[in-house]
Every structure is written in structure tokens, then in C-alpha cells.
Symmetry: C2
Subunit: 242 residues, 2 copies
Amino acid sequence: MLTKNQIKYITQLKQKKFRDLNKVFVAEGFKVINELLNSTLLLEHIYITKQLNFTVSKEFVTEITEADLKKISSLTTPNDCLAVFKMKEDRLPKPSGLKIALDNVRDPGNLGTIIRLCDWFGIADLVCSNETVDVYNTKVVQATMGSLTRVNIFYTNLADYLKDANEPVYGTFMDGTNIYKTDLPTSGIIVMGNEANGISAEIEALLTAKIAIPRFGDLQQTESLNVATATAIILSEFKRGN
Amino acid sequence: MLTKNQIKYITQLKQKKFRDLNKVFVAEGFKVINELLNSTLLLEHIYITKQLNFTVSKEFVTEITEADLKKISSLTTPNDCLAVFKMKEDRLPKPSGLKIALDNVRDPGNLGTIIRLCDWFGIADLVCSNETVDVYNTKVVQATMGSLTRVNIFYTNLADYLKDANEPVYGTFMDGTNIYKTDLPTSGIIVMGNEANGISAEIEALLTAKIAIPRFGDLQQTESLNVATATAIILSEFKRGN
């Protein structure tokens, strides 16, 4: 049974300002919740519509009706359970090591895919400009699953961060040097830009190197790679060794 | 002005069986339609709600109301125009050259991204199992834009196709050989599997080599790469040269 206040509290968490105020976020579905339970994240509460095998003590679980779940869920087809977790503590990115920095990436699916790529390639820190979509947006949480807890995601003023960094800063541009023929370091910052506009002029001025993923098609069309697939190729190239 | 029959005809094209019956499909929005007009595709008709600068003769364009566009559109926010195009003729994949084959890829966004990757990396042929999501699904058309017309997309019984192919057939598996340390040919077929189940047992039996994208994270979690980002990394590796 859910009270009106509980419904209001959880529904408001669809908005970033209420998530930030309460320092909590929502995850849905058995698989995602289970992955988050098996991490260092702290659970606030789980709501279930049927018996589910979560390894948490009873006081953290409330059985609710499907009608109530529908009220608090962000999914078109709610998925038997919904949990509220406490946000991770922010920590400063490490001064060295390979990092990805996002300059105003807006699509939750792209951010989710990039977080999973960072996890796969052992990238400890993902630096996001303050304009980048919120990592605790429901769509991002659903897409990243456990990766969310294994990558340190740090929101900041990206220009200030890059000015203070004592590391090479890479950005992808059509006229950059061929990434397959460039010596790539094991420590540095790789900036990925906005879906429609790429890297902003302010950030471009702070780059120390411009790289390019060569296009192999016969017809040199203007079409560009999606930011998430470009990140996949660039990370693979930085990490593969020679 | 749209007649009831026209509304019915275009609305039915949301379903694969009616698209196949009429050998046409729908594209929406100025940018997508314009890219398709600048290809070898044949236009059937464009419906617009306001004056738009398409370079086609008048008899191909009908001005309709926003209410009518809403009736025939697949988008939540219809986008000033909708066009019906004739499908491309299928052609058999070339006997040599690098190809991607999809074994039951179900997500339209993934197929769209993979088509754009094929276009980028100059892959002429994309072979799809009959169970793979339809390339003329609205979401695929909207995601791929012009790439759709530059890559030959061939649906077939994938097992039969691979049995007849005189080329090396690659598939990605966790226990495959490290792709960064494998000599990769310039001609061959790379099979990518279903989002949830990977490559099916029937297709696995037809592979000539298993490759793997190494995972670099400290914690070896079970989480896998998304099929579209895995395709990006694999294509980059096959095409980069040594």
C-alpha cells in the first residue's frame, strides 16, 4: 500500500531538481535493481507487485498494487518492481589515466551507451559538462545497469576543468589527424561533443590535439557517426596497444 | 486534402506486410526526405503542411492539414512533411568484400546505427536473417537517413547464405581470439548476434573463426557490449589496416 505522499515523492523523482534535493534516484525492473543491489550503492526502498527474490531485509521492501506501480513508474509497461537508491558521492577525477569528457551530450541513450563503454574499457572517470543529460535520468539508469556504479561520473564546468588539467586533451574533428596513424597516450582526456553541434568553440580552443576517424565509403557524404559509436571506436583505438 | 483511402493506405504502411505488398515505405521530416530524394530511390508522393523547398515537380506534392498529418504520421510530434518512397530492388550481396551479417537483431535503433556504420566504413552489403527487424520500419528509416540508400540490405535465410558462402565467417564470442591480435582479412563475413541471446547455435556452427573484443575493466563483470557499439569496434579493427 502506498500513501499519497509516497506516490508524490517517487513521482517527483522523475525531475532532476527533486532527485538532487533528496540525493536519490529510481531504478526499475528486477535485473537493474539486482545489479545495483550488488554494488556499493545504498538502497532506500524497493516496491514490488509480486514476490521477488531480492537479498535485502524485509523492512526495505513494500508490496504494492499494480495500479500503484503504474502511478510511480516511468515505463510504459511497468516491470513488477521499482526501487529508490541513494546517489553515489561525487569524487574528483584522478589526475592521470585515460578519461572521457562529454561536452553537452543530450540523449540519455547515448550517455548510457558511453557509460557502458567506459566500464568495458576500464575508464575510471567520465567527466560531464553541466549541460550534459543527467546520469540519474530514468532512461540512463535503465540503459547502463551496473555500469553506472563502476564508473565515476563527475559533472562540472568542463571549460574550467580542462583549463586546470595537466594532460593532453583530444577532440574528434573531420580535419583531425587519422586516429589509426597517431600515437595515442595511456593518459589523457578525450572530449566527445553534442549530437547536433559537436564540440563547442569554447572547448575546441582548449584541445591539445584534433583526431579523426577516417571514413571509408566511396561517396564522401556529410553524414557523421553517432557520438556513442564514435566513442566506441576511439576508446578501442586508445586501448588496443600497438 | 487527404481522402479516407489515402489515410488508410499510408497508415497501413506502418505494418511490414502492407509495405511488402505495396513495395513502398514512409519517411518523415525535411532532412530525411531530402536525403532520400538525393538518392536513386523513386518517390511516390510527398505530403506537406507548409511550403517546403523540395526539388520535385508539383504533381508529386500535396498540401494537407496538420490534423491529417497527425493521422498518418508515426511520430509523436509530426514534422511538417511525410513522404512515400518505392523500395529499392534487392540485389544479391557481392561474392567478395567485407560484409556484416545480422542474426536476429531486433532493435530498430541498433539496425539503424549498424547501417550508418556500414556506410561509414564502406561496407557495400549488409545481410540480414529473415528474423531481423525490417529495414523499412519507420524508426530505422528515421535513424539511418541517407545511409539506407547507400548500403545494399539483403534479407535471407542466414544459415543457407553462410553455407553457400566461400568466405571466412567471423563471430564474436567471449572466448574468441583477441581481435587486436588477430590477422583480419579484407574479405569475409562478420556475424553479429541478437541483443539478448547473441549468435544462435545454428549460426555458430557455421562460423570459421571466433573473435573477441577484450574487456579492460578491473572487475570482470558479465555485462556485454551493445551490438551496435561492438559492430563499430569490429569494423574499425577490420578496416584500420596494420
